[in-house]
């Protein structure tokens, strides 16, 4: 039984994408980064991965908070696993625990007596990229910030594309007065200073990630609408649409079965660039202080810290490095996709 039909064209495109080395390698790296960030709690956390205590195995990462009393400590709040590890080692009675490679979560302030953060990178303390101005681990904040940014962009992409594709298709397909009217609406829309609205809304409510996505989607659908409008406009003049229509296909059928499948390559080509755009927009907003609320780990907030505290070079360089790696990988993936979907065969004179 065939559960999924992969057309030979799709297969060919996939093969071609694999042959674009730079794009394919970037795609693998990007997928790996997203995958790892989903399980970031296992890699960067102040909770142990496994605790072996008096014959019991415990997995605190995804479980509920385990109070210190459970491990024979004298407090009721969450266990300090880093201290527990030291205690287990000293006692040597068969108890052990495994900490994640970076034993800090992105919210805790690791302060030292008599010294003021930020602290430079230190392998001894396992602050591989140092700490920020209030003593939080930078690597933790960079990784969790990546997760926020990439999922933010993916949701944003979905919203923008649903809106843009449907409206763009309708505009291009039906044309006429409707098209002319919506062209003006789009022109007006794209001219409203988007930052202004974001600042306004964040002065009324504290934006959480969903509200921020909605605000951004409110302004983000325009580009895709223009693109889809132009594409539909071109496609509907082609012979195959005429043929479908003369066979009696309805407008809906023509749009969904004929036009959209033929424009899918353009839609896919724009996606990586939309993702990098989303990441940059979120970072810019956080940098200006109009993005996600304060303790949320974000790249923009780190960049602001790096900008205000330039002597702490490790703050800005880690976040810029993370940003550059991510955006370059996304951009190269996009470039690879474009080459695979729209191969340009050129004559070359030797």
């Amino acid at each position: 039984m065939k559960t999924m039909i992969i057309s030979s064209l799709t297969k060919k495109r996939w093969e071609r994408f694999k042959s674009v080395k730079r794009g394919f390698v970037s795609f693998i790296i990007l997928a790996l980064m997203i995958f790892l960030s989903v399980f970031a709690e296992l890699l960067i956390n102040n909770r142990a991965i496994i605790v072996y205590y008096n014959g019991h195995l415990l997995f605190p990462t995804y479980s509920e908070m385990i109070p210190g009393k459970k491990f024979g400590l004298d407090y009721d709040y969450e266990t300090n696993y880093r201290a527990l590890e030291k205690k287990f080692r000293k006692e040597k009675n068969g108890n052990w625990l495994i900490m994640p490679p970076v034993p800090y979560n992105p919210f805790e302030n690791d302060l030292k007596k008599g010294k003021y953060p930020p602290f430079p990178p230190s392998f001894k303390d396992r602050h591989f990229l140092g700490t920020d101005n209030v003593g939080r681990d930078i690597l933790a904040r960079v990784v969790y910030g990546f997760r926020t940014a990439i999922f933010f962009s993916l949701i944003l992409l979905f919203l923008n594309y649903s809106m843009g594709i449907s409206l763009g298709c309708i505009m291009g397909y039906f044309g006429g007065k409707f098209d002319l009217f919506f062209q003006r609406i789009l022109e007006i829309w794209s001219n409203i200073p988007f930052l202004y609205v974001v600042i306004i809304i964040s002065s009324i409510v504290v934006p959480n990630i969903m509200i921020l996505v909605l605000i951004m989607a409110f302004f983000g659908w325009i580009q895709m609408t223009w693109v889809m409008r132009t594409m539909t406009y071109k496609e509907k003049e082609r012979d195959y649409v005429l043929a479908a229509r003369s066979l009696g296909a309805s407008d809906l059928r023509i749009i969904f079965h004929h036009i959209i499948p033929n424009t899918v390559s353009v839609i896919v080509t724009y996606a990586p660039f939309a993702i990098s755009g989303g990441i940059v927009a979120l970072t810019s907003l956080d940098y200006l202080g109009f993005g996600l609320p304060a303790p949320t780990p974000s790249w923009g907030e780190l960049l602001l810290q790096g900008w205000t505290n330039m002597d702490a070079w490790w703050i800005s360089s880690s976040v810029v490095a993370a940003l550059v790696i991510t955006l370059v990988v996304v951009t190269f993936t996009g470039e690879g996709i474009r080459e695979a979907l729209d191969p340009k065969m050129h004559t070359i004179y030797e």
């Binding site: 001219n191 202004y196 009324i204 550059v324 004179y349």
Partner: protein, 349 residues
């Protein structure tokens, strides 16, 4: 064709009204406007007075609990800022003032908006023109070189470099350049456009000083702009090189170099021309993020600050200028295309 452009010009009017009325309406519904700011200031003053004066003023403490200004005072303020009239009416009185060339006064500095904007224009223009020269000056030759040496080592390496540049937002590049070159190595200044002692310098010293302050912001402006235009140039040139007319030219014995520069080049510049008109709005508006990072007082930073400080007349003034430039730029682009490409005819829509 003239009819087409006239229609485009007429269509500016509804769009312009649509844009300004939307933003104008938003300014009405946002908390934290000028009146609330004055009330907050008055409350602060009063708190300071009552704490300093102790128990002397009995009347002040009665009103101070809630509202420092009387109803009459607030009404007068509303009238001053035009908040006392319904939305549409005050919008049209604003519009008629704009048509008479009066953009109003800033609620922050109490200066005429146009004077404030006028002072910032040269700075944005300076960076805009330099950016444009650099971008066109680099992209067109680079695109040609890449097209002619397609798939060579040079082509691949320059592709990687320009795509990396494209991936980095200019202002992020600005932050890291400031940290590295200004803070760490102290080669370039930390921001601004002139040194503190600028007025004491000789003419050559002044030029040197400005140039020294220009390098990093300019790099941030251009870093991301190379890729799109270079690849556009490269791809169109390659399309043209594989077109029949170039093949004919080469077949009849024309040297390759001549075929590129005499025949293919001219046609390849058409897509570059499509974006040319939009430069006028890019030149003037600048990027507020880059201006904020480098602390340059251009139009972008002015717009950002006025939005944050709810200086509505300045916000609206900048909006008027930028939206007009944007729409005129679009039309100019179309005219550019019509000039360079004799095939384009805007007869029907």
């Amino acid at each position: 064709m003239i009819a087409y452009f006239i229609r485009r010009l007429i269509l500016i009017v509804p769009t312009f009204i649509g844009i300004t009325i939307m933003v104008f309406a938003i300014t009405r519904f946002v908390p934290g406007g000028p009146i609330e700011r004055i009330i907050a200031n008055a409350r602060q003053m009063q708190a300071m007075h009552s704490s300093a004066g102790g128990s002397t003023g009995g009347t002040g403490s009665v009103a101070g609990a809630g509202q420092p200004l009387s109803v009459e005072q607030i009404n007068r303020l509303k009238k001053y800022y035009g908040f006392d009239e319904p939305l549409l009416k005050s919008y049209f009185s604003w519009l008629s003032k704009v048509l008479h060339g009066n953009l109003g006064r800033s609620t922050r500095y109490y200066d005429p908006v146009w004077d404030i904007i006028k002072a910032r224009i040269p700075i944005s223009l300076y960076f805009g023109i330099l950016t444009m020269i650099l971008i066109y000056g680099v992209c067109i030759p680079l695109g040609i070189a890449k097209a002619v040496r397609h798939n060579s080592g040079f082509d691949n390496i320059s592709s990687v470099i320009i795509f990396t540049g494209y991936a980095i937002p200019g202002w992020v590049a600005g932050v890291i350049m400031l940290v590295v070159f200004s803070s760490r190595f102290d080669i370039f200044p930390l921001g601004g456009l002139t040194s503190d002692l600028f007025s004491d310098l000789s003419l050559i010293g002044k030029i040197k000083d400005i140039a020294w302050h220009t390098v990093l912001p300019l790099l941030s402006y251009v870093i991301g702009s190379f890729s799109v235009m270079t690849l556009l140039m490269k791809n169109t040139l390659m399309d043209n090189l594989s077109a029949d007319y170039v093949r004919t030219a080469i077949a009849k014995g024309l040297p390759f170099k001549k075929a590129v520069f005499r025949h293919a080049m001219q046609n390849s510049l058409i897509p570059i021309a499509t974006g040319f008109g939009n430069n006028i709005s890019i030149i003037l508006s600048g990027s507020f993020l880059i201006e904020k990072v480098f602390n340059i007082n251009g139009m972008g930073l002015l717009g950002y600050e006025s939005v944050v400080d709810r200086d509505y007349p300045v916000v609206m003034g900048i909006l008027v200028i930028s939206s007009l430039l944007f729409m005129i730029g679009n039309i100019l682009s179309d005219i550019c295309v019509a000039i360079v490409d004799p095939r384009v005819r805007f007869n029907k829509h």
